[in-house]
C-alpha cells in the first residue's frame, strides 16, 4: 500500500444535526481529517442513491451519510426512508465491486460533535487500510 494514499470521502451531512458538529469541528482544537468534503443536505432522506453512485463512479473512495437518530428526524420520517434505501444500495454497490466498507450511514445528533469527529477519523483510517479502489 502506498504510504501517501489519502482516501477521498464525500460526506452528505444533515443540516439539522451532524452539520452542526462538522461546522463546530472547524473551529475546535480537535478536528477530523481533511479527507472529507462535506455537502450539507436538508435531511439524510433527501440523499438520492444516484448521488452516492455518482460519487463512486467519479472516483470517491468512500461516502458518508450522516443524519439524525431514528425518531429525531426534522421531517419525521426522512431518516427511516434513508435507512431502507441505503441498506439496499449498500448491498448493490458491494455486489458491483464497491466494498461495503466504503459506504457508511451514521446517526449523529447536533450534540455529538466528538462522535462525528471520531466517525470521520475512523472512516478515513479504514479506507486508507482498504487502499485505493480498482480502476473504474
Amino acid at each position: 500500500m502506498a504510504i501517501n494514499y489519502e482516501p477521498k470521502i464525500i460526506g452528505f451531512i444533515c443540516n439539522w444535526c451532524s452539520y452542526a458538529d462538522a461546522d463546530m469541528a472547524g473551529t475546535s482544537p480537535v478536528s477530523y481529517p481533511p479527507n472529507i468534503r462535506i455537502i450539507r443536505v436538508p435531511c439524510s432522506g433527501w440523499v438520492d442513491p444516484l448521488l452516492i453512485a455518482k460519487c463512486f463512479w467519479q472516483g470517491a473512495d468512500g461516502v458518508l451519510i450522516s443524519g439524525c437518530h431514528p425518531g429525531d428526524c426534522r421531517y419525521n420520517e426522512g431518516n427511516y426512508h434513508a435507512r431502507r434505501r441505503f441498506a439496499l444500495l449498500h448491498r448493490l454497490l458491494d455486489y458491483l465491486g464497491i466494498a461495503k466498507e466504503r459506504l457508511r450511514l451514521e446517526w449523529v445528533s447536533a450534540s455529538e460533535g466528538q462522535k462525528f469527529t471520531q466517525i470521520v477519523s475512523d472512516f478515513t483510517r479504514e479506507l486508507a487500510e482498504l487502499g485505493p479502489r480498482s480502476e473504474g
Binding site: 453512485a53 431502507r84 434505501r85 439496499l88 448493490l92 465491486g97 451514521e106 473504474g136
Partner: protein, 288 residues
C-alpha cells in the same frame, strides 16, 4: 399449442370487443418467423382468430398498458405478467376497472429468438413458483403440473463470492458492450417515467459518452430504481441485443429485498413496496 385454451381466449375476446366492454385486446399472435410469438393488438371482433397462446409467448404485455391509459383494454397475462399489473395498480398508473385481465395458467415459456425456439423452459421459469396469475378477471387454461424446484440464486452467490476487484472487473466487462439502446428500459413494465434520469440534462446524471463507466452508472441506477418493483419477467435481458446478463442484477436486488424487507413485488395490489414505507424498529445492519 393448446387449442382449447386458444379458443377460450378468442371467444372471450370476441365477446369483449363485440359488447364494447373493451376497445382493444392485447394478446399474442404468431411472429413473422412462423415459429415464435409477438404482441398483437386486436380492435375488431373479426380479428380475434389471430390470437394465439403457447410456450413462446414470452413478452410481458403489461408494458403496453402505460401507452393505452384511459382506454378500456383487455390483456392476456401470464402469472409473472400479472405481477406487473399489480405493480402498476399499486403505483396508481392504471385503474383496475379499465383493464380486463385474461389470466392464463402458465406452462412456462421457452427460450426464443428470431426463428429460434428452444426446447427447455427459460431459466426464470424453472424456479418460478407462480403458476397462477395473482390478479385476473378471467382465468384461462388448466393448472399445469411442473417442477419448480431449483436454486434461484446460485449464479448470484457465485458472483458474490468473488473478491471486490474481480467483481468490479466482472461488471465492467459485462457493461462494456452496452450500446445504450435502452431496450431494457423500453420493454420494462416498471419503467414508465416520462423523463428517465439518464436523459435528464439538468442535472446531467449520465454523460453522453457510451463507455463502460457511464454504462454501469446507467445499469446500476436503473436496477436500483426497480428494486422492490421488478417482477422478474426478464424481458430486459431478453431484449438486450448485446446479451448483458441483466437478470444477475435484478435477481440480486430481488434476493436482497426479500431478505431485508420480506417483500416480493406485485404479489398484491395493496402491499406497500419497500421504499414507500418503513418500520421504525427495524434494524437493517447500520446500528452497532
Amino acid at each position: 399449442m393448446d387449442l382449447e385454451l386458444i379458443q377460450q381466449i378468442r371467444g372471450l375476446c370476441r365477446d369483449l370487443l363485440k359488447n364494447g366492454e373493451v376497445n382493444c385486446v392485447i394478446g399474442y399472435e404468431r411472429a413473422s418467423d412462423g415459429l415464435t410469438a409477438r404482441p398483437l393488438f386486436v380492435y375488431e371482433p373479426g380479428e380475434v382468430e389471430r390470437l394465439i397462446f403457447d410456450d413462446t409467448c414470452t413478452h410481458n404485455l403489461v408494458k403496453y398498458l402505460s401507452d393505452k391509459k384511459g382506454e378500456k383494454i383487455a390483456i392476456v397475462a401470464k402469472p409473472c405478467d400479472s405481477r406487473a399489473i399489480n405493480l402498476l395498480l399499486n403505483e396508481g398508473q392504471i385503474k383496475r376497472d379499465t383493464v380486463f385481465i385474461i389470466g392464463v395458467y402458465c406452462p412456462g415459456v421457452v427460450e426464443t429468438g428470431w426463428n429460434r425456439k428452444g426446447e427447455a423452459l427459460q431459466e426464470r421459469c424453472q424456479t418460478c413458483q407462480l403458476l397462477k396469475p395473482v390478479v385476473y378477471d378471467f382465468l384461462a387454461g388448466q393448472a399445469p403440473v411442473r417442477s419448480t424446484e431449483g436454486e434461484r440464486y446460485s449464479d448470484i452467490l457465485e458472483v458474490e463470492s468473488k473478491p471486490e476487484d474481480e467483481r468490479r472487473a466482472f461488471w465492467l466487462d459485462h457493461f462494456e458492450p452496452c450500446i445504450r439502446c435502452y431496450a431494457c428500459r423500453q420493454i420494462c413494465p416498471g419503467c414508465y417515467c416520462p423523463e428517465c434520469f439518464v436523459e435528464r440534462l439538468d442535472p446531467m446524471w449520465v454523460g453522453i459518452r457510451i463507455a463502460p463507466i457511464e454504462n454501469e452508472l446507467w445499469q446500476a441506477i436503473r436496477a436500483f430504481h426497480l428494486a422492490g418493483r421488478c417482477i422478474s419477467c426478464n424481458e430486459c435481458e431478453r431484449a438486450c441485443p448485446m446479451d448483458i446478463p441483466l437478470s444477475l442484477l435484478n435477481r440480486k436486488l430481488e434476493k436482497e429485498v426479500k431478505e431485508l424487507f420480506d417483500f416480493q413485488a406485485g404479489l398484491s395490489p395493496e402491499e406497500q413496496p419497500p421504499f414507500a414505507t418503513f418500520n421504525k424498529e427495524e434494524k437493517l445492519g447500520f446500528e452497532e
